[in-house]
């Protein structure tokens, strides 16, 4: 059985050569050498036509086995070589992952905008509209319509920037409330609004005073609005601004456009109420003024104060930001020093 021996020897030879192959190219040439059209296994098989019919199947089987074994060896070796090549490539491609990334430059909203937007969103969620109004107003809408007639003791000329005796820079955002109220048609539902914006006072700028600052006022007018509704609304606001665990307390106060009027304190977010320098040892921090809309204010806008009533509140985003972030000089908000502004990129 010369042919059988030949085949067996061929298989051993192929195994040895495949095992020694150093690269994919060499492997390919071995495949051609043994299994190609002119390859050695093929040429052995070609000699089968000279065999007896009895011998053919036996030898045919052996030849196929030898061919399959070589094929398996080849693909096994191929796999190994590919793995090695990949490994080598990956090793070569290794980089210093600790080098800095390419800089993405983004800006950030002003801290006052962040605060105002947060408040706007809270009230939008409760069905309020945001109405901005103009920064230059008439004396009439800024004062008279909020129940501050000419000789009212609470009306201090010193505090107002006048342009003419009749025109001024608004000292609060209330005029837009009066303007909206007189336009409002209660047939379309209650009036629920907040008015954010810049306001102006005749003050000399220092650490705690600014001739320009911001205000957000809110107002709800409908039938059956209660002072308890005001308390609940402000509680929500205080928790949103200063944290879930905060409580509020209402104290009697005076504003010409509300009656009753209250000042609202929030439990100190720094010490939790035990007393610290932020709350001046009282456990409470004053954050806003509020009250039930004065009937005169409603009547002046043509609203029947027997049928409709409601509440109003006002707060200063500048003051809130100072409290919340411990900013000790209000002028920081208007100097626009990047080193200040950038600190509020991280959401507080």
């Amino acid at each position: 059985m010369e042919m059988e021996e030949k085949l067996t020897a061929l298989l051993e030879e192929a195994k040895a050569e495949i095992g020694n192959a150093a690269g994919l190219k060499e492997l390919e040439s071995l495949r051609v050498k043994y299994l190609g059209k002119k390859g050695e296994v093929t040429s052995v098989l070609k000699g089968m036509k000279d065999l007896t019919p009895k011998q053919r199947p036996v030898l045919g089987k052996l030849a196929n086995e030898v061919r399959d074994a070589i094929t398996a060896r080849l693909s096994e070796k191929k796999e190994t070589l590919e793995q090695e090549a990949l490994k080598k490539q990956l090793a070569e491609e290794t980089i210093d992952v600790t080098l800095p990334g390419k800089k993405v430059t983004t800006g950030q909203p002003h801290v006052l905008t962040q605060i105002m937007e947060e408040i706007e969103d809270l009230f939008l969620g409760m069905g309020y509209q945001v109405i901005e109004g103009t920064e230059v107003e008439t004396d009439y809408y800024n004062f008279e319509r909020v129940n501050l007639p000419q000789n009212h003791p609470a009306r201090d000329m010193q505090d107002t920037f006048y342009i003419t005796p009749d025109v001024l820079l608004r000292t609060h955002t209330s005029p837009i409330q009066a303007r909206t109220l007189e336009q409002h048609d209660f047939a379309n539902g209650p009036l629920k609004m907040i008015s954010p914006g810049k306001v102006y006072r005749r003050d000399t700028d220092d650490a705690t005073h600014s001739h320009q600052f911001h205000q957000i006022e809110g107002m709800v007018i409908d039938e059956n609005i209660t002072m308890a509704d005001l308390k609940g609304t402000l509680e929500l606001l205080a928790k949103k601004m200063f944290g879930e665990e905060r409580e509020i307390r209402l104290r009697p106060s005076y504003f010409p456009f509300t009656e009753p009027s209250v000042e609202v304190d929030v439990s100190c977010f720094k010490c939790g109420g035990k007393g610290c320098n932020v709350c001046k040892q009282t456990g409470w921090i004053e954050i806003l003024g509020a009250g039930m809309t004065h009937p005169h204010v409603l009547e002046m806008s043509g609203v029947d104060s027997r049928k409709y009533g409601g509440f109003a509140f006002g707060l200063g985003p500048d003051r809130i930001a100072m409290l919340k972030y411990g900013v000790d000089d209000i002028r920081n908000f208007y100097l626009n020093d990047q080193r200040f502004l950038e600190q509020f990129k991280r959401k507080g």
Partner: protein
């Protein structure tokens, strides 16, 4: 109003409540407390001493060596520098161990070798303000009355064994500008009826007021009530200690017994009084009238005031003797020689007093009370009480009768309110009895029917007039802490931002994503800055009476402010700055009293967009970096199709060759350009680029519905063209030539190369564009595209004299 708890205890039983707790209750129920002080907590080792001897110290021109009896085994030697120290005086001695409010710790010490075992104190050293210390004790030690017990604590004598509650009184609660008012208020809080001592005047019936004085007023609107009493045979002397300490601790300087009584009564009743030297009036007539134009009066402070008909004056029938409600006249004020006092108690119209006090800058305790209104029921009571006290302290007699003019009488008001109204306003379930009880605590009577109550409000609470006022009294006494917390149960309507508000927010987010930080600048600026960068006609809107040049006019552009911010940062080594601001600018309008307010967005960039790093070279800000931001923003807000840029050299603040007007639908909506290098130099800035766009113009349009267009199913194709043209030919011009001649399948045009320099003729430039073609309905045929593309090339040659390469 500084309230002495001891004084208040004369009306109420405060033995069960600590001052700090009382202050808390006052704050939560009625009136904000600014501060509570208890001086005795920090003051000890302060005793009454008797000066036995006071000798000049050998080698000093002002120090004295005293021996002071402080009720110890031996007198103490104390060195004292006060000029007024004398043997025989009772004085305030700080013994070793005492700590004074100014931080000084008293120890045994030696002054110039002489031993000193303590310190003889002035009132200032105990914490009294200079302005409340009696004149004669101003420059030295305070001398106690002889009855003061040697060795005992000095605090009771000067009223520092007390607690003081500083009330911050709002304009509506002027009733609490008096101790009696505070007594009622605290009584309501503690459910106690305050007890006030009865005052009876013992009059000398031998003479009648009409023998002395007759009063008249010109206008009862100005002076609804004017009353006067006369006290005769008075010796004007120093006030007793109890009176002095009450005044000093309330912040008022003791002067003499007459003036002190008027101030004391004002503190007790809230009723300002004025005492005249009767003989100096030189008349038996008092007439109250408006001042004449330029009429003159020398006031108590020695200043000559030039008056006008806005001021109200008290006259002796001819010439002014006092500025009503504001300040007395020098010629009639009480002196040590005064024997007969004419005492005034009146009600003056608040606005007249307010204007006078304001225009003469003479705000006083009196004028403040007139401005806020008075308890009409106290006008005569206060007068009676003061007259009796002046007589008692000066050994004089009150002349029988009151000279008076009164157009009004003190009257109670009645307010009727339904119980349901109270509960409806507060969200409570109070029953009638509870409300009646609350009114009773205030000292208000009420009558009830099944559903309503009618509250009788005495004149001492003149702030209460309408239902809402009663509701306020109910809720504050009931307690805000007992109020439920609910939300409005109104019909729910969606709250949403308007289209414009949403776009403003989108713009902010976009600008921040593009690397710009939001700035907020002052709207008020200098005249010059207010006008800069704006091409809108008219002077900026100016303040009538600015506080400073820095803030006197409203900006017409946001750019001056932003530039200030950039400069501020660059000067502080923040070299790479990118700001945007969204805010109002203000334009004067000729036929309107209000200016036009327009919302602008503006930006300012300087330094680098990208700093040099290990991967990239530095990318300094340039015109096109800023333009790129605007282009993308215009796409985001949906206006990019109709935006165009037109070169302009009409802004003196901007680089004439690097500035473009931004037009939208043919109208100018903004500007984009480089800060003029000269101005940049002045501000020490490198190349700085600016833009400012009128947002209202772009956003006031209706929201355009956004409709999806299908993704093309068929492949497109592209062609590149490169050519040389004159350097003056604008990209915008090339674009319009290409668009006009591009054929119907031309989809987009992209400039991919621009070159000038070597190999290109001087004055020319080489441009290369990539044109994309697309037919949404079918695959484009090569021939179609080729013929369209040839058309463009032809047009470039013909219209722009381009040389195709």
């Amino acid at each position: 109003m500084r309230v002495s708890v001891k004084w208040l205890s004369e009306y109420l039983d405060l033995s069960d409540i600590a001052p700090v707790e009382l202050a808390d209750q006052i704050t939560l129920t009625g009136i904000e407390v600014d501060d509570v002080t208890l001086p005795s907590l920090t003051l000890d080792n302060l005793v009454v001493g008797e000066v036995l001897t006071a000798e000049e110290m050998a080698d000093s021109d002002h120090l004295k060596v005293t021996a002071v009896d402080v009720d110890q085994e031996a007198p103490q030697q104390i060195v004292c520098g006060a000029p007024n120290v004398k043997a025989g005086q009772k004085v305030i001695v700080a013994l070793p161990g005492a700590k004074l409010p100014n931080g000084l710790k008293i120890k045994k010490s030696k002054l110039r070798g002489v031993e000193s075992n303590g310190m003889i104190c002035s009132l200032q050293e105990l914490g009294f303000a200079e302005a409340v210390v009696p004149k004669k004790a101003e420059d030295g030690i305070y001398v106690l009355p002889m009855e003061a017990k040697t060795g005992h604590s000095v605090l009771p004598y000067i009223g520092l064994d007390d607690a003081f509650i500083e009330l911050d009184i709002t304009p509506n609660r002027a009733d609490a500008l008096s101790m009696r008012g505070v007594g009622y208020e605290v009584g309501a809080i503690l459910s106690q009826k305050p007890a006030f001592p009865e005052v009876t005047v013992s009059e000398d019936r031998s003479e009648n007021i009409s023998d002395y004085i007759h009063v008249s007023v010109d206008n009862s609107q100005d002076v609804p009530v004017y009353k006067m009493r006369v006290i005769k045979d008075v010796t004007v002397q120093e006030s007793p200690m109890w009176l002095q300490r009450k005044l000093m601790n309330a912040g008022i300087r003791p002067i003499d017994a007459v003036v002190d009584v008027t101030n004391y009564i004002m503190l007790e009743y809230g009723q300002p009084l004025h005492a005249f030297d009767y003989d100096a009036l030189e008349s038996k007539t008092i007439r109250v009238r408006r001042a004449e134009q330029d009429e003159k009066l020398v006031t108590l402070d020695g200043q000559e005031r030039r008056l006008n008909p806005g001021n109200l004056v008290i006259t002796n029938g001819e010439k002014p003797v006092a500025l009503a409600g504001v300040m007395g006249g020098e010629n009639t004020h009480v002196t040590g020689a005064t024997q007969t006092i004419a005492l005034e108690s009146a009600l003056f119209e608040s606005s007249v007093i307010r204007k006078t006090a304001q225009s003469l800058n003479l705000r006083s305790e009196s004028s403040a009370r007139f401005e806020r209104g008075l308890n009409t029921a106290a006008i005569e009571r206060a007068l009676d009480h003061a007259a009796q006290l002046i007589a008692d302290l000066g050994n004089g007699q009150v002349v029988s009768g009151v000279a008076r003019v009164e157009a009004i009488q003190p009257e109670s008001k009645q307010v009727t309110i339904a119980l349901e109204r109270i509960n409806q306003a507060l969200g409570t379930d109070l029953v009638m009895d509870e409300v009646v009880h609350l009114m009773d605590r205030l000292g208000f009577d009420s009558e009830t029917s099944t559903r309503e109550l009618t509250v009788t409000v005495p004149p001492r609470r003149w702030d209460i007039e309408i239902e809402a006022d009663i509701i306020e009294e109910v809720v504050r006494l009931h307690g805000y802490n007992r109020l439920p917390a609910t939300l409005p149960k109104s019909e729910s309507i969606p709250g949403e931002l308007t289209h414009k508000q949403q776009r403003v927010r989108d713009t902010r987010h976009f600008m921040e994503g593009a690397g710009l930080s939001q700035a907020i600048s002052y709207a008020l600026t200098t005249n010059e800055k207010a006008a800069a960068f704006s091409r809108v006609e008219g002077e900026p809107v100016k303040l009538d009476w600015p506080m400073s040049e820095e803030h006197q006019a409203l900006r017409k552009s946001l750019l001056s402010g932003l530039l200030d911010n950039v400069q501020y940062n660059v000067a502080r080594q923040n070299k790479h700055v990118g700001f945007y601001e969204i805010g109002r600018v203000f334009y004067p309008v000729t036929d309107s009293k209000l200016p036009r307010e327009v919302t602008h967005v503006a930006g300012a960039l300087t330094g680098s967009r990208v700093e040099a790093n290990w991967q990239e070279d530095e990318q300094p800000v340039d015109f096109y970096a800023v333009k790129g931001i605007l282009e993308e923003w215009f796409t985001v807000i949906g206006v990019s199709d109709e935006i165009s840029y037109v070169p302009t050299n009409t802004y003196p603040e901007l680089h004439p060759g690097r500035t473009a007007k931004v037009r939208w639908q043919g109208q100018v909506v903004g500007v984009l350009g480089q800060l003029h290098p000269q101005l940049a130099d002045e501000r020490d800035l490198k190349e700085t680029y600016l833009f400012e766009i009128d947002m209202d113009a772009l956003l006031d349009t209706d929201k355009e519905p956004l409709i999806y267009s299908s993704i093309p199913k068929y492949p497109g194709t592209s062609r590149d063209v490169a050519f040389v043209v004159d350097e003056t030919v604008l990209h915008e011009t090339v674009l319009s030539v290409m668009k006009e001649n591009g054929g119907k399948w031309l989809k987009s045009i992209r400039l991919f190369d621009l070159y000038q320099g070597e190999n290109i003729e001087q004055g020319k430039k080489s441009m290369a564009y990539s044109l994309s073609y697309q037919n949404p309905e079918a695959t484009l045929k090569e021939e179609e595209v080729t013929s369209d593309f040839e058309q463009i090339k032809k047009a470039l040659v013909e219209e722009l004299n381009a040389e195709i390469r």
